[in-house]
Symmetry: D2
């Protein structure tokens, strides 16, 4: 019998929050080094949360060595290298600022914060910390879907030619039922915004990242389709079936966000984020049409990328359904044979693999806080525009006045 | 040998214009009574057009008994019952007004006219003529796609519940190439507008018709992605490969139209009309999401309707791909067995079948000029909004001021 | 006013039978010269059938000038140029033989006949008549689907490389209900065979035509899933709701036909014809996989061809969904703009266009009776194999003994 | 800080083999208890393999505590509870027999063995061991795809009514290139058979499991499309780019397997397993058509099940594309929100979850060795039939003679 040598260099993780995102992140931390060659080996050291009983159960489930109900403990522990922030958006600012100040690497779930102002401070802090070798990343994990990473690569290589149009939708339907109960995601205090920030943020990030262009101005509309909902007992948690009092609470965020964005090059993009699209479960769609081709994606078929090549001989042109499970596709070679698809959680595993590599190699991972701040500015501009009759609103912090369309 | 009796009551057609629409309409006039039981039998009597040589060839090809280069001849011929207007939009007003005044039934291709003002006069004339038993219809033929007619029926029956969102796109790509030559469709004088009026008009009509609601206000953006194009020799025709002078002409219409519309009930709809969506050939898409279900359609698969029924037992819910070739589907029983699809031209044949039935039965066909005028008002409101920084603009002729979002 | 000149050279049609196929054929005869430049102009002269009342109604509906209850009249009429045989398979032999003997061009619906012996005699007669300039064609109309004609062209050009496998299915479900009534199509005397001859014949013809190879031997199984059905009043017609006696009749044909075929080159093909495939309405599917690519088709989406090109750069490979509505696709340029699909009946119109062209130009149209005879031999070999424990059976008439697999 | 209590009851795993299957299995052992409530907690104790250097690297990668180059060590270690056999098929017999004799629970990858005889002995041993509380399972992991497990549930509930037809295909294309090098999977000594045993075994198991019926007889054909391939240096491994000698080796297994199977109820099924289906990467498809509905699946879209319900009101019938990510779907509630898909490896994780539950609860997991033996008998019958001119061959061990079709 032989015993393999212990992993050379551990990377010790402290995580705050243990809901749905905590489960996804901890799976990724446990799994990344099993499929990717990483310079450091993640260790799940401490899980922080508010409620001791459920915290302990989560730590055992996720594989953390210990727990604490004081997230500040993580910062004080010299053994911890990375703070992974999986809490709702209203707490990101405080935790991330403290973590950066403590010299910990930070993985902060999206949205970066619930306001531009907080995001700006966090970004400034991240830039400052970066000079000391402290790494920071915001969790727009969908970028690590192989099909989307490949789409970006194709666009960068010029496969679609000059971009002519961008079309992005994030369609869900879990609020279609007017009697689905209130949750913290419908409470502006906790969630910042509704469909806009929750899922719209993803397609803003993706559209900018894949196209390589920032959105410079927007004209938008927000709508709360169902204005009240049955009261839920506990807005801290993930909701539930609601209480039985018959009381209804006000929904203080949008159910539907629609906006047109103009990108730096002048290209127009159409955006829709909704949790009212009956029948659409997780239809995060991005399409980019250019002078020479197009790419189209729908997360409901996350292992496929549709590619249109206008240079193909006439008669044979059409969208090609590519299964992005080939060795040529980002991340795919580390997994299974051709045609054997990946799932949602792999986006997180890829994010951890890239983050650990960056930490190990001393480079800065992406999406940086600057990139996340830019998303935040677009979100804010949409809210401003919507409140002002859909007038065109700049995303540029230097622009104090609103813009016309061009 | 026995000779079948001649058709009892002929309905004699005079047509103006013989381009692509003339071919589609004449096929429909020849074919409708072969598959539908009609009270009258269409006869292609006279074809009117400008250029005698091509006019004669078209008449022979389409099956008209005679031709004229003076469309006014059609109105003076007491043997002609119906004037079918297949010319570009800038001539609709003059021909339709004269035809109605002459007591002829009128089928006018869409758009009804190139302005709201003309459309209003035409509508007033149609209403007046109606009192004399003169019928009028505007050619929004896509309504007669079985899948879309069935979608309307489902929505009217409550199959989707309360409407929550409407999503309509008309995506084409034939202008993606910046060197595709100029055509009359890119000349504002001839065409009125670009993607907006040419194809956007269809999805506006469909969204209103299927939902049973009018759009009351809009916020929109228009864009000319390729501002100049190689000069074409003859803007009267359907374009061509352009001249070889190397000269470029200004495109005076939009390539892309994006707008958000608010319907009477308050529901929001998103609209996009583009001829820049590389890879999309004729993707006319409509989706309606409601509290109890959804319907979704794409003309690239015109024999299919996707239906989502939220009342299906949990676990079995999803979009059902219905081949709308069953006897239960509008028009389908008159054609082929189950699963044997129809094509584009059938929408015109169905339109003629319905029109001839209405004329024979003395009822008013749909879409009426009033309905077409409402589409025109939406188009105009989008142009006004786009010119005014996407401000919300009412489609109500009584509303002299712009509106905020609600 | 000007009157177009009458068509120069008419081609006068006598048709026998006026059911579903009669409707499809007469539409094609009326329509082909409206969209294709033909050397002759079809005229629907005489319709022959058994039952005078329904015959007259059909003639009026289809546009025939006269009727007769004696199909022999058509042969005696010197004004008639073409005999179009749209009756059930058991009558093809007698009518076609007489028509050829009378020097009439013959369009015979598939299957050519209900037996190989009859088919051989018909083929011999067709070859003999051909020497006199008499043309003959068998109505495997699906060949004229643009996507399938394009598939053949691609294969012939080498786009799939060396063929490795062929896969053909014709899936329908209209007999899934065990209480669907008896029809003539389930009666061996009338129909010859069941799913095998009715729909299996189509995929045999297509697989051979697209691949350019004949099937040389087969191993097959036939199955009657529902052995008895409610009696129908009249087996002559197209069925109906059955009588109400509660009596059941024996189904004497197969519901399901499964066979493996070996092509001349040694390639294996799998074939399935069924009317028991619940949910599949008209899924006529053909897929050819080669060393360099593949093509795949499903008639439920008849305007699409899936093309796989293994020479595409790695990472971009996948099935391309081509809308076969481009000018480069067979027949498509004569119809509508890109993306505007065709329907089932267009296959017949294309068949007539090609037939009329062949007659006008004095060439022999395809599928010839020889080709149809080859299909018949495959059908017969499948029946022989099925009756003999799925033993491998040659389709070669010279082979008196059965074969092993290779 | 608090430390979670250690897992109550460990389940210690010894694994033999560390190729592609070893990676998949070890991921599953590490992951199952993170998402499922299990009575025992797996621990990866010892990994056995032949080549020490790569063995050590694999152990470290997969997370095993120690290694051995003598698999017999695993049986002698009283700390090991389960033997997980991930080696090629020709070694299953020896290892599994010894493991059962040693009183270890056994997870044996499919195929159970390379012959019926070995499978029979293994099954007898498993039955005997079962009496002592020793559990055994064969790794037909695709059963644990949520969509397929749901399909089985629907069929069992009667959702498709009486089964009329079964259609199963496993289409891959990685051998389409005639110059793809030799691998152990193409060597009959190592692999037993080719496409038939490698991938055909999966669809045989699934068709029997979902339908709840065994295949009683078969008529089949096997084909080696590319008979020689460039020599590979090392047939022990997973292949590679081949050596450069230009030498070619004989392929001694089938590339394509086609067969018709008759199930116990008399229902016919068509089966195809191929690694020559250019363009199809991992198209494992199963369709069951019944009197009342149908289910259809394609592993290339593993998160979708197509369901047809013939009892839906006429007009609304069609295949419903169900995303099997709802709480109602097997296994799905333990993962992510609705619409967030799973990947290939989840089938293994589910298999481990079920196996650990069975061991903990003292019940027998499925697929049992009996079930795997039945698959082996079908494989053998196909080989026999193919060698005997596709004659119908019973899968019943008592039947010494061949059968006719029924």
């Amino acid at each position: 019998m032989t015993t393999p040598s212990a992993p050379a260099r551990p990377l010790r993780i402290g995580m705050v929050g243990y809901g749905f995102m905590g489960a996804a992140h901890s799976h990724a931390w446990r799994t990344a080094h099993r499929f990717f060659d990483l310079p450091l080996t993640p260790e799940l050291r401490t899980l922080a949360g508010r409620t001791e009983s459920s915290l302990l159960a989560a730590a055992e489930r996720y594989g953390f060595a210990q727990t604490t109900t004081r997230w500040q403990d993580l910062l004080e522990d010299p053994e911890i290298d990375v703070i992974d922030i999986c809490t709702p958006g209203d707490t990101h600012f405080e935790i991330a600022m403290a973590a950066l100040a403590a010299g910990k690497h930070v993985l902060c779930e999206k949205p970066l914060a619930n306001s531009v102002e907080e995001s700006e401070q966090m970004t400034a802090a991240a830039i400052e910390a970066r000079a000391q070798g402290v790494r920071s990343i915001c969790g727009f994990s969908y970028r690590r879907t192989p099909a989307l990473a490949y789409a970006r690569q194709l666009v960068a290589e010029g496969a679609v030619g000059e971009i002519r149009q961008i079309r992005a939708q994030y369609l869900q339907d879990w609020l279609s039922d007017a009697d689905a109960p209130m949750t913290w995601r419908l409470d502006k205090e906790k969630a910042g915004s509704g469909a806009l920030g929750d899922i719209g943020a993803h397609i803003i990030d993706l559209a900018q990242w894949i196209s390589g262009q920032r959105i410079s101005s927007v004209s938008g509309t927000l709508e709360t389709v169902v204005p009240t909902r049955p009261a839920a007992g506990d807005l801290q948690g993930l909701g539930g079936k609601g209480d039985t009092s018959g009381e209804r609470q006000d929904v203080t965020v949008d159910d539907v966000a629609l906006f047109t964005g103009r990108f730096e090059s002048g290209v127009l993009g159409s955006f829709e984020a909704t949790r009212m699209a009956q029948g659409r479960k997780n239809a995060m769609r991005v399409e980019i049409n250019g002078s020479a081709g197009a790419v189209a994606f729908d997360f409901e078929r996350m292992n496929e990328l549709e590619i249109y090549d206008a240079t193909t001989p006439a008669g044979r042109q059409g969208f090609t359904r590519v299964l992005t499970t080939e060795p040529e596709h980002p991340y795919a070679a580390n997994w299974w044979p051709t045609g054997h698809g990946l799932g949602y959680e792999h986006t997180f595993t890829h994010q951890i693999a890239d983050l650990v590599t960056a930490i190990g190699e001393g480079t800065d991972p992406s999406p940086s806080f600057e990139e996340a701040l830019q998303v935040q500015r677009v979100l804010a501009a949409v809210e401003t525009s919507a409140a002002d009759g859909s007038s065109w609103t700049s995303t540029d912090p230097q622009s104090s006045t609103q813009e016309t369309s061009r």
